[in-house]
C-alpha cells in the first residue's frame, strides 16, 4: 500500500453533509471486478451533466481550476456514509485524493481509507469551514499541508490545527503496511484462541 506521510496540495471544498458512497461512486460506475478504472466514475452524478455521460458539469468543484488538481478534499459531516463499497475510496485515490478533512466520517469508509493510503482527518466543523473559506476566498487557492508525522493541518493563513488519529491507523498509513502480513505475526495467538474457543463454543465450528 502507498505510504502517507505529509502532503502540501490544493484542497477542494465540498461541504455538504451526509455525502454518501453512492454519490462518491454510483453503483452503475462499478463495471468490472477490480479496484481500478474507477476515477472516471467519481462523483459521476454531480460531475457530469447527465447520468452515464462524460459531459462535465462546469459548476462542480472538481471540474473547476485549480480544484481539478486537488489532492485534499474538505467535506461536511458524516462523509462516506452509506454503502460499504470500497470502490468509493479506490475512485478517490485513483482520481488523486490523498487526504479528506471532515467533521466526521462513515465508519466503514474511514476504515477503507486507511487501508488504501488515504488519510481521513477529523477536525471541528468550524475549522473545516474556515479552511474552506480560505481556499475559496483566494483565486490562487493556496495549498493546505496535511502532516501525519506531526498530526497537524496547516492552513493557508499559517494556523496549525492538531488532529487525533489512533496509533494503528497512523502506523498503517506511515508504513504502508500490508494488514494481513502484520496480523499474521500474531498467528500463534489466533490459533491458540481458536483451540480454546472450539471447546468453549463448539457450535461455532461447522
Amino acid at each position: 500500500m502507498e505510504k502517507f506521510t505529509r502532503i502540501t496540495a490544493v484542497a477542494a471544498p465540498l461541504l455538504r453533509i451526509n455525502i454518501d458512497t453512492d454519490a462518491i461512486i454510483p453503483s452503475r460506475e462499478m463495471k468490472t471486478v477490480g479496484k481500478t478504472g474507477l476515477a472516471a466514475g467519481l462523483f459521476a452524478n454531480w460531475r457530469y451533466r447527465t447520468p452515464g455521460s462524460r459531459d462535465e458539469a462546469p459548476d462542480f468543484v472538481l471540474n473547476r481550476e485549480p480544484y481539478r488538481h486537488a489532492r485534499i478534499l474538505l467535506a461536511g459531516a458524516n462523509f462516506g456514509c452509506g454503502s460499504s463499497r470500497e470502490h468509493a475510496v479506490w475512485a478517490l485515490h485513483e482520481w488523486g485524493i490523498r487526504a479528506i478533512i471532515a467533521p466526521s466520517f462513515g465508519a466503514i469508509f474511514a476504515g477503507n481509507c486507511v487501508r488504501n493510503g488515504i488519510l481521513p482527518v477529523v477536525l471541528d466543523n468550524a475549522v473545516v469551514e474556515d479552511l474552506a473559506r480560505q481556499v475559496e476566498g483566494d483565486a490562487s487557492s493556496p495549498p493546505l499541508t496535511v502532516d501525519l508525522v506531526e498530526r497537524t493541518v496547516t492552513a493557508p493563513d499559517g494556523a496549525r490545527h492538531a488532529f487525533a488519529i489512533n496509533d494503528t491507523d497512523r502506523e498503517m498509513l506511515l508504513e504502508g503496511l500490508d494488514g494481513i502480513a502484520h496480523t499474521l505475526k500474531r498467528d500463534d495467538a489466533i490459533l491458540a484462541f481458536q483451540a480454546q474457543d472450539r471447546l468453549r463454543r463448539p457450535w461455532i465450528y461447522l
Partner: protein, 479 residues
C-alpha cells in the same frame, strides 16, 4: 493504630457489547485497538468477488472455508427465468467470477437457481448462519441487520474482508457504548421500520457515529425477530458502527432448528451461554437516548437522507425553520431534488411506483403485512408496483400461503429474490423524477434510478400507498 487489610474484588459491570467484544478478543493491540476473532464471513457477488479475487492473486488462502458463505443478490436479475445474464453493465462478470472464485476457495455458495439463494442478510438468519453471540462480517454495510439476533455483526470493506478471510480476525477499535431505549408499545399499523426512521429523524443520520448501540426497551422486546432485523438493518443509516438487540426466548425460538443452528446437547449449551448476553443491570453507557413509541405514527421520508423524515400525518418541513446552516442547506437541496415545497402534506402526495423488497423489509412477515392490506384491493392506475421476496425460501413460503396470488391480483409484479431495485446499478430502474414509495433503506439522490425520488416507508405503508396512488396512512385502510 489498627491495621486494616482490605480485599477488593472488583467486578466491572459490562454492557452487552462489552461482553460480545471480550468473547472474541484475541489480542489487545494497545491504544484502543483489538484483534477480534471472526466466527463467520458472508460475501456477495458485488464486493465479495473483489475480495476473493485479490486474495487469490496475492497467493493467500481462505483460512476456514467451512465458515465462509457467499450468495448472489446484488447484481442478479429478479425476472422469472433469470440466469447469469443481467441488465447491469458488466454484471455477468461479477456473477461468473464470484462463482469461480467461491468454488476455488471451497466456500459455501448459495447460487442462482438454488433453493437457498437470496439477499445476504435474509439468508444469513434464515439458515442459522447468523446466531446470537457470533461475530459475523460481510463487505456490505447492512450487516448490522444481524444484531437483531444478538450477533456482533458489522459491515466492512473488501480489503478488510480479505483480511478476515486470510486471518480469521479483524483489527478493530472499540466504539463507545450507546443504549437507545424504545419505550411503550406500537399502535396497530406502526412497525419496526417506523421506529428506526423516527430515531434517525430525531437524532440525524450521523447520530450514531462512533458508537456500538444496544437497542432496548419494551417496544424492542415485544418485536418478533424479523422486525428486530428490520430495526437493526438501518442502524448504519443512523451512523452506528453496529447495533444489537439482547437475545431472548423469542430469539432462541426463531433460531431453533435452522440448518446451521446447533442441535441436541450443543443447543442446550449454546442457549445457556446466550442467556448471559445482556447488559449488566449497573452497566454504564457513554450515551443513552430514548424514543416514545406508544404515540408513533407510520413514518415516511420526504428528502434524500433517512433523517429527512416525518409522520405520515405531517408536512414537508420548511428549511427556513432549521437553525443549523448545514442541515438547512441539505434540506433545501433535498426539496429541490424531490420536487417538493415546504408545507406540502405528505399524505396525498401522488406516486408513480411502489416497491416492496430489500434486506430491510422482504421477509415473510413483511410480505404478510403488505398482503393483509392488498387483499381484495387493486393498485391505483398509473402506479407500477413490484414485490421482490428476500430469499428463494421466503418466496416459496409466501407462494404456499397464497400471498403471491394476493400481490398479483392486486397488480404487483412478483419477482425472484435479490436486492433488485433497492439501488440502480445501470440496469433496471425507476423512471426520471418518478416518485417511488419503497420499503428499502436509502433515499439517497439517484439511488433507485437517475433522478428517481424515493420515499422510504414500511411494507404496510407501501401497500396502502400503492392502492391509493399517493402516500397513504395505512391506519385508515387496516381491517
Amino acid at each position: 493504630m489498627p491495621a486494616f487489610v482490605c480485599c477488593y474484588i472488583v467486578v466491572v459491570a459490562k454492557t452487552l457489547i462489552d461482553k460480545l467484544w471480550d468473547e472474541h478478543l484475541v489480542a489487545d493491540l494497545g491504544d484502543g485497538g483489538s484483534l477480534l476473532y471472526i466466527d463467520r464471513i458472508f460475501l456477495h457477488e458485488r464486493t465479495g468477488s473483489v475480495a476473493l479475487k485479490e486474495l487469490a492473486a496475492a497467493g493467500r488462502r481462505v483460512r476456514n472455508p467451512e465458515q465462509v458463505f457467499c450468495t448472489m443478490d446484488h447484481i442478479v436479475d429478479t425476472f422469472p427465468g433469470r440466469g447469469d445474464t443481467t441488465r447491469v453493465p458488466g454484471g455477468t462478470d461479477f456473477i461468473t467470477q464470484t462463482r469461480a472464485a467461491a468454488r476455488a476457495a471451497g466456500i459455501t455458495l448459495f447460487d442462482i437457481g438454488g433453493d437457498d439463494q437470496g439477499i445476504v442478510h435474509v439468508v444469513s438468519p434464515e439458515q442459522g448462519i447468523a446466531l446470537p453471540g457470533v461475530s459475523l462480517v460481510c463487505p456490505d454495510s447492512h450487516t448490522c441487520t444481524l444484531g437483531g439476533l444478538g450477533a456482533l455483526a458489522w459491515g466492512i470493506g473488501s480489503t478488510e474482508a480479505e483480511h478476515a478471510l486470510a486471518t480469521k480476525t479483524l483489527v478493530v477499535r472499540k466504539p463507545r457504548n450507546m443504549r437507545v431505549r424504545f419505550d411503550g408499545r406500537l399502535a396497530p399499523g406502526v412497525t419496526a421500520k417506523d421506529m428506526i426512521l423516527a430515531l434517525i429523524g430525531a437524532h440525524t443520520a450521523g447520530g450514531g457515529v462512533g458508537y456500538a448501540i444496544e437497542f432496548a426497551g419494551e417496544a424492542v422486546r415485544s418485536l418478533p425477530v424479523e422486525a428486530r432485523l428490520t430495526l437493526c438493518n438501518m442502524g448504519v443509516e443512523f451512523g452506528a458502527w453496529t447495533v444489537v438487540v439482547p437475545p431472548d426466548d423469542t430469539t432462541f425460538e426463531y433460531v431453533r432448528g435452522r440448518p446451521y443452528a446447533p442441535r441436541g446437547e450443543t443447543w442446550d449449551r449454546a442457549v445457556e451461554r446466550w442467556r448471559a448476553l445482556r447488559s449488566d443491570d449497573d452497566a454504564r453507557f457513554d450515551a443513552e437516548i430514548s424514543l416514545d413509541c406508544a404515540h408513533l405514527a407510520p413514518q415516511v421520508t420526504w428528502g434524500t437522507s433517512p433523517q429527512h423524515e416525518a409522520g405520515i400525518d405531517g408536512v414537508v418541513p420548511d428549511p427556513a425553520g432549521q437553525a443549523d446552516a448545514n442541515r438547512r442547506r441539505s434540506m433545501e437541496r433535498a426539496l429541490e431534488y424531490m420536487g417538493l415545497q415546504p408545507g406540502t402534506r405528505l399524505r396525498g402526495l401522488p406516486i408513480q411506483a411502489a416497491f416492496i423488497g430489500s434486506c430491510t423489509n422482504s421477509r415473510l412477515s413483511d410480505l404478510r403485512a403488505a398482503a393483509a392490506i392488498l387483499q381484495g384491493r387493486k393498485v391505483a392506475s398509473g402506479v407500477r408496483a413490484i414485490c421482490v421476496p428476500g430469499s428463494t425460501r421466503v418466496k416459496r413460503a409466501a407462494e404456499q400461503e397464497g400471498i403471491d396470488r394476493i400481490f398479483r391480483e392486486a397488480g404487483f409484479e412478483w419477482r425472484e429474490s435479490g436486492c433488485s431495485m433497492c439501488f440502480y446499478a445501470g440496469g433496471e430502474s425507476f423512471g426520471f423524477e418518478e416518485r417511488v414509495v419503497s420499503s428499502t433503506n436509502r433515499n439517497f439522490e439517484n439511488r433507485q434510478g437517475p433522478r428517481t425520488r424515493t420515499h422510504l416507508a414500511s411494507p404496510a405503508t407501501v401497500a396502502a400507498s400503492a392502492i391509493a396512488g399517493h402516500l397513504a396512512d395505512v391506519r385508515q385502510l387496516a381491517r
